[in-house]
């Protein structure tokens, strides 16, 4: 009896998993299909003709898809470095030191995610034109960093909070200076969590369109700029291919970072 029950449960679990996989991967499969569909219309349920015509179009010599991809990844990496550089001290302060108005500060980092950004970027562009830095990679990185900071600060704060205080104290008792204790004990222990926050910053930066347009274009063009036009105009093939290309650095970055992910660090996010 129990055997039947348990195998019934297994069947149920497997079919639930299959349904889940369909919901999850269906849209992505759809994307992949469109990227190789040369003709696809009613009443055909699948593409009428397949081909690589649009791949060739995206990778044509004048298409600069690869150059834009390079710029995108470069900006995303810089943004991660920048955001982490800012959020390591901030996260440490939020986690370890007595701060007045701690919740308010945490909330402030959330703001750039919360307020719709178009109106803000116009003003940011104005400021950057006055400073003469519009149209530089640096300007784009600054804007992306502001936007992604909430992830890195909140997660860095969590990572520092997760480090056992006793270890730090032990190092101090053995005569290490506060800085040395931080660099040799606290930072290495918190590093996995801090790096994990990099994923979200990286993804935010890689997707960003509006800010890049206002502070980067025409000197700096990223892949989402190409994607945005194609997607809004309903050019499914080109948009799908561009999206698939964007997937590559995201996944690679995730795999790279994953080696450093530690469960107990994720536990304290936002605490």
């Amino acid at each position: 009896m129990t055997r039947i029950a348990s195998s019934a449960r297994l069947v149920l679990a497997v079919s639930l998993l299959a349904a889940f996989a369909f919901v999850l991967l269906g849209p992505i499969l759809n994307l992949a299909l469109w990227s190789v569909a040369e003709r696809w219309y009613t009443p055909h349920k699948l593409p009428v003709t397949y081909g690589t015509r649009y791949w060739e179009q995206v990778f044509r010599p004048t298409g600069d898809a690869m150059a834009s991809l390079g710029t995108s990844v470069w900006i995303a990496v810089l943004t991660v470095v920048f955001a982490l550089a800012l959020s390591i001290p901030a996260g440490y302060a939020l986690a370890r030191l007595k701060l007045p108005m701690r919740a308010l500060f945490m909330l402030m980092f959330l703001l750039p995610q919360a307020f719709p950004s178009v109106a803000i970027y116009i003003n940011v562009a104005r400021i950057f034109y006055q400073l003469g830095i519009n149209g530089t990679v640096f300007a784009v990185v600054l804007v992306h960093t502001t936007h992604g900071l909430v992830f890195s600060v909140w997660i860095a704060a969590a990572a520092f909070a997760a480090v056992d205080k006793d270890l730090e104290l032990a190092a101090r008792n053995m005569g290490a200076s506060p800085m040395r204790a931080f660099l040799t004990v606290t930072l290495p222990l918190a590093a996995p969590g801090i790096l994990a926050s990099g994923i979200f910053v990286f993804l935010e930066s890689l997707d960003e369109f509006t800010g890049t347009f206002f502070v980067g274009v025409p000197q700096v063009t990223t892949l989402p700029l190409l994607l945005y036009n194609a997607a809004m105009g309903g050019n499914y093939q080109v948009a799908s291919i561009t999206a698939l290309i964007l997937l590559v650095p995201s996944v690679l970055f995730m795999l790279f970072i994953e080696r450093f992910l530690r469960a107990d660090v994720l536990a304290k996010v936002g605490a």
């Binding site: 001290p89 901030a90 500060f105 997707d207 936002g270």
Partner: protein, 277 residues
Amino acid sequence: MNLSQRHLGLILIAPGLMLVAALFLYPLGFSLVSAFSKDGSFTLEWFSKAFELYSTDIVFTVVIVVASCALTALAAIIIAGTLTLGENRYIVGTLRALYRWPLFIPFIVAAQCMRTFLAKNGLMNNTFVSMGLIEPLQAVSFLDWRGIIATFVWKQTPFVALLLAGALASIDRATLEAGRNLGASRVRVLFELALPQVMPTLMVALVLSFVTMLSVLSVPMMVSGSQPTMLTVDMAFRINAYGDYATANALGVITYLISAGAAILYLKRGLSEGAAR
């Protein structure tokens, strides 16, 4: 020590705060001024216009985002719970390999995928028809509020699940085992023992998702027709069709107040926890 710690804290947090202040708060000031003034004097005219024209859309937006968050939370709890408490290695392994993929798809692409996937004659319904699950005549289009919610849940669940799974993995296994040994079902262990311990993480992940969904333009724009629609679309429309930044900014303030409502949940928790410390 305490005084200097306080100063040190402020010094450490200053660079990040300054960046946000310079590139966000300062430009935000302009938007606020334009939302509250006309020809240099204070007015609420733009707000009354925003309410007159978009009251339905405000309600619509709140309902969509709250519903999406609720469903996202549910889906993420199921996924993270299975990952933590699942006993079949293969199922857990498959799930772990699968669930993160939507995280990497930009919103605009997710919107485009869903537009062709959820349509009446889209890939989803076509698959169901081919499998004999539904009759062709029963196929309905989901390209309305349901489509928006589906896209949001699809895109945000991995994010919440990722954080939640991490949190669940780190809680004390012994309590969970004890619960199991006392004969509690896995569902009960998850909801009564595990979840309360990771509530803070779940809340924060949801607050972040809430704010993200509120600010996305491409999904409501591309997935559903425009009546009614979400506030981001209205804002873009005010600007693109009329060059009317004042009303757009007023709508921005309203959106911000909605997210502040969500953030207060977080704040309250942070404050009560701070008091308890």
